[in-house]
């Protein structure tokens, strides 16, 4: 059996909720909303691989590939014999190490037998 206080509180809550719903009301054109959503759906086909939450399927893969190149390049360069210096790898190494100071040293030390870096 509900107490009078409970009925009063419940009634007050119901009246408040009704006022909230009235204040929240606004015209909504559901047909227009559906048209807009479907137009966007058709403009951008579903990806063939699962989409990432931020919507960019390629960005994480590209970032991972870039990170792998940065990490692997120093080891590849270090393992190459003298005279086989690769300028692309050298630039990547410079970028990975974060400075321009190494670049002249690398270039001067890695021109190879024919002086053309090859």
């Amino acid at each position: 059996m509900t107490r009078p206080d409970d009925e009063g509180k419940a009634g007050a809550d119901r009246r408040l909720d009704a006022a909230i719903r009235a204040a929240a009301d606004r015209p909504v054109d559901e047909a227009r909303l559906a048209r807009q959503v479907l137009a966007r759906v058709r403009a951008r086909p579903k990806p063939s691989w699962p989409a990432f939450p931020n919507g960019g399927a390629l960005a994480p893969a590209a970032f991972a590939a870039y990170a792998l190149i940065l990490v692997a390049t120093p080891f590849l360069v270090a393992s190459a014999p003298l005279g086989d210096y690769d300028p692309i790898a050298g630039i990547a190494l410079t970028a990975a190490l974060g400075g321009d100071d190494l670049l002249p040293m690398l270039l001067s030390g890695g021109l190879g037998d024919d002086g053309a870096g090859g």
Binding site: L16, A23, E30, K46
Partner: protein, 182 residues
């Protein structure tokens, strides 16, 4: 799920079922009808694109939809506030005055308009989580368990948020009434 299979009619049915509730929720949470319309479109678009991830064991489609919308609203509100802080612009309460024609009948009388305006201001003045809780349950029609799942919280926390929100709304609306009669 038919949406996961690429059936546009299924998406249209979902929009017909939840488009209005979602729009009302987003409008009162953000205080900006245009931003709300964009967020609602984004929510349905996300459902379309990520339908393969939906797990029925975790809850109803509506709960999943509102969870997506709630997260989008939180992100959007953050961007709106940052933009207003750096660039200025109308506050959320100012935007209340530019709602389109075709307003509900309660707005036709002066007193009715004032009462609605007071309640809208009181809603916008609520802390974000309280506002979200009250809008999900009272406006969008989710039960407490569904609303808690949409907000990623417990049912007990949801009920606490609702108690505090109702108390704050009564105080906000009553306080303005007192000011108006002085």
């Amino acid at each position: 799920m038919r949406i996961a299979a690429g059936h546009e009619t299924a998406l249209a049915e979902l929009i017909a079922l939840h488009g209005r509730g979602l729009t009302l929720f987003a409008t009162r949470y953000l205080g900006d009808p245009d931003a709300a319309d964009e967020v609602v479109q984004d929510a349905f678009l996300r459902v379309w694109r990520e339908a393969v991830r939906y797990d029925p064991a975790r809850g109803a489609v509506s709960t999943w939809l509102y969870r997506i919308a709630a997260n989008l609203c939180v992100d959007r509100l953050r961007r709106i506030r940052v933009r207003r802080f750096f660039l200025g612009g109308p506050s959320a309460s100012d935007l209340e005055e530019v709602l389109p024609d075709g307003a509900p009948s309660a707005e036709r009388s002066v007193e009715g308009r004032q009462a609605l305006a007071r309640m809208r201001r009181a809603l916008l003045a609520l802390p974000d989580r309280q506002r979200m809780a009250i809008l999900l349950t009272v406006v969008a029609g989710l039960d407490n368990a569904e609303a808690a799942a949409a907000m990623g919280t417990s049912r007990g926390s949801m009920e606490q948020l609702l108690v505090r929100a109702r108390r704050a709304l009564r105080a906000g609306v009553t306080g303005e009434d007192d000011d108006a009669t002085r």
